[in-house]
Assembly symmetry: C3
Homo-oligomer: 324 residues x 3
């Protein structure tokens, strides 16, 4: 995936892929992969993966020449794409992604930070004990509060105000963004392959992008993406204690009240309002101009211009009528 | 609003008010406003505002001589009160309040804090890296944990224990209060006027008042009020990860379990018990001696001595009978 | 209770017990108590307590020779066990436990910490401003992030990674555990005896035990136990913003998504999956291999191998059928 922060260690040869996955029954040919990408975005130079029937239509037209998949799914692939059969597709994806992006699996603290006085950020007004890692850009007219840590791989635009006790890494923050105290932005998401004895880590090569004029309340956790980015649109405001999981995309002019949680890979439209403590399950699509009442639990897609309430969330009027 | 911390920059003349609001069709008279107050508390020296029919009864008897309002509402005002017609009442209120209280809109970190060793708090037992802003009073026999920041405009009583990594500003903490780690107390609330392209900030001239013998758990966010204070009554205990929004008032001897959220301007009585993860919508009145079961979503007022459960919360027995 | 951290100040004589509880109508005999234990675990050298009819079967066979109880319950005790009648059993328990374990009631910040450079932890890779208290052991190959505070009474195994801005006290962390940023682990739980004017503190002599290969997400609060430990089993993963109350036991290979809360003394099995924002009431038993859907509110025990959803949580299929 293209982003400025996670260095791609490719190319990786087909022979190496077989070796990493302990595949021994294959003819050893010469071929180089330059990246690992999903079925939509893969090109001839990247290895792709196909792990669920849900993606069979996309699979049919993938441009990739090689695809990690299973016996059950391989026949959906076009003739131009050679299946590499593995027993667990996602584990294989994790393994190969880690080879391309070795620093994306774990989230050790950044031990190369320096006190901001020892770095060259003369235009920044900052508090005490501010620590800055490598590869951090900060625009003009920015404020950074006390004890805040900007770890490696962060770009902050102009006129931003970052609170105290906040930690940011692997993120792009655009102009005029306000981030309040105690936030954790850009850590890896809660993605792994459950495994008795010892769960397997899933790489997180996505970043967090917060667009212009947003406000992020106190105590937010916004995780970076695994295979895509986590992104918050312009002029979207988040209240306190909100959790945004990996790969979530939120539109513009959206307002999210306190203690809301949005699970992984869900997409929220523009001009959406989400009441306090509402929860949104993973992999959903919430349209534009949607109102979700406080406390709702959303477990399916919601079309544009809807007003919903309840657990599971349904039409607002219907819910109120049924729950007098 | 009267509180010791936000300096009133008034008086502001009627001519200036017209100018700020770009009202040009009015006769320019000489009149001075000394404050902006709501319909209930406004006197002859303050400008008031009337933005919703809900307040028509109060409007009828306001003592203010001038009121920001709309064409639709102006006829509810008494003859003694002259309407100042604006297209968006709340935006006008925000604009004028900002003129009276220019420092109440944003929450930049306090860059005038000093390490506590460089201030005169000899009786305080404190941890490492404690930072204290201007206009901070601390009573006798207090503890302040490591990395805690007491920003400007805070009064702490006697025998208080503040944890580590906590941030407090614009607050009055009475005697014998315990505040645990990682709390954020006194930041501005989540109040603004939604506006495509760029939301407008709403001033927050209220403070947080925590009365005697309270305990506030780890990770609490307690926002200061906008036009009134946020207040927690004596001997009320809050568990971890609780969010209390702006203008909320909580009574005495109340017990609130983990992860509860209370939305803006709600009033909670004395001897109330709120179970974990319950949510209370904004602008509600919860009576005395009320029990709210964990996980409930309260969306309407609850009378004294009630036991409720559910989402929406209803009589406890009814809910349990219906949900066997 | 036996744990390595809270020093037992016993023995305490029967005469002293009468004195502490202001019991004056008893013959003064010579007898020494070496600990206070619950009905199950008490032996002849410890004082026990019996405060609810729920425990009458256990009471009948207690080995203790003396028991704090009430007039109403005393007749369930065996003849070998002499009742010590008090008006409020739990208040009496709190009072006597505090005599045995005087440092277990409050959670003042640890003011004996030193910067890690001034302690002898040469193998630890650590960030800036790391503070370490007394009686802290750290294994080999560990990382500790910036501004993290390890207060007194902590054991950390080998190969652990602790994030930044995290606070740990009174805890045992086994090998290969990852704890992310902004966590508060080992503080006293939300246990006290409600009392008008001034709530009474309940002692917390338990600790937190986190077993091998666990991961704890950002912003977790894991409280230590009151009369038993809080414990998390091997290879269990917690997402962000989770609250685990005192005395909770969680099994192995369990996965808990963001913003979940588990109330005091509940027991969660192995291989359990709990979706985001779910809440589990106190004193429940959740079996092995249970799936709890996101947003659920669990208010009763759940047997092994169940899948539940809803508030209150019920069979998943039933809930979905009823809520189409």
């Amino acid at each position: 995936m293209s982003n400025p922060f996670f260095l791609n260690k490719g190319p990786i040869s087909l022979i190496k892929v077989y070796e990493f996955l302990k595949i021994t029954n294959q003819k050893k040919r010469d071929f180089n992969f330059y990246d690992i990408k999903d079925l939509y975005s893969a090109d001839k130079k990247s290895i792709t993966f196909f792990h669920s029937k849900k993606y069979k239509e996309v699979a049919k037209s993938t441009k990739a020449l090689f695809c990690l998949t299973s016996e059950l799914l391989k026949d959906f692939l076009p003739k131009t794409c050679e299946p590499i059969i593995v027993s667990n597709v996602l584990t294989a994806v994790a393994s190969i992604t880690e080879k391309f992006y070795p620093y994306s699996v774990e989230d050790k603290f950044d031990n190369k930070v320096l006190n901001i006085e020892n770095r060259d950020y003369k235009g920044v007004i900052h508090g005490k004990n501010v620590l800055i890692g490598e590869n951090v850009k900060i625009g003009t007219n920015c404020l950074i509060g006390h004890n805040t840590i900007i770890e490696k791989n962060v770009e902050i635009g102009d006129n931003c105000s970052i609170g105290s006790n906040t930690i940011i890494r692997n993120s792009i923050i655009k102009n005029n963004v306000i981030i309040l105290d105690n936030c954790i932005i850009g850590k890896k998401g809660f993605g792994f392959f459950p495994n008795n004895k010892k769960n397997l880590r899933y790489p997180h090569i996505g970043i967090v992008i917060i667009n212009e004029d947003c406000e992020i309340g106190c105590g937010a956790t916004i995780d970076r993406g695994s295979m895509s980015n986590t992104e918050i649109g312009k002029n979207t405001f988040l209240d306190n204690q909100i959790h945004i999981a990996h790969n979530v995309k939120i539109g513009e002019n959206t307002i999210i009240a306190g203690q809301v949680g949005i699970a992984g890979s869900s997409i929220i439209g523009n001009n959406v309002r989400i009441g306090g403590q509402a929860g949104i399950s993973g992999h959903l699509k919430i349209g534009n101009n949607v109102d979700i009442a406080g406390g709702s639990g959303v477990i399916k897609d919601i079309p544009d211009n809807s007003r919903v309430m309840g657990y599971p969330a349904k039409n607002l009027r219907k819910f109120l009528r049924e729950n007098k």
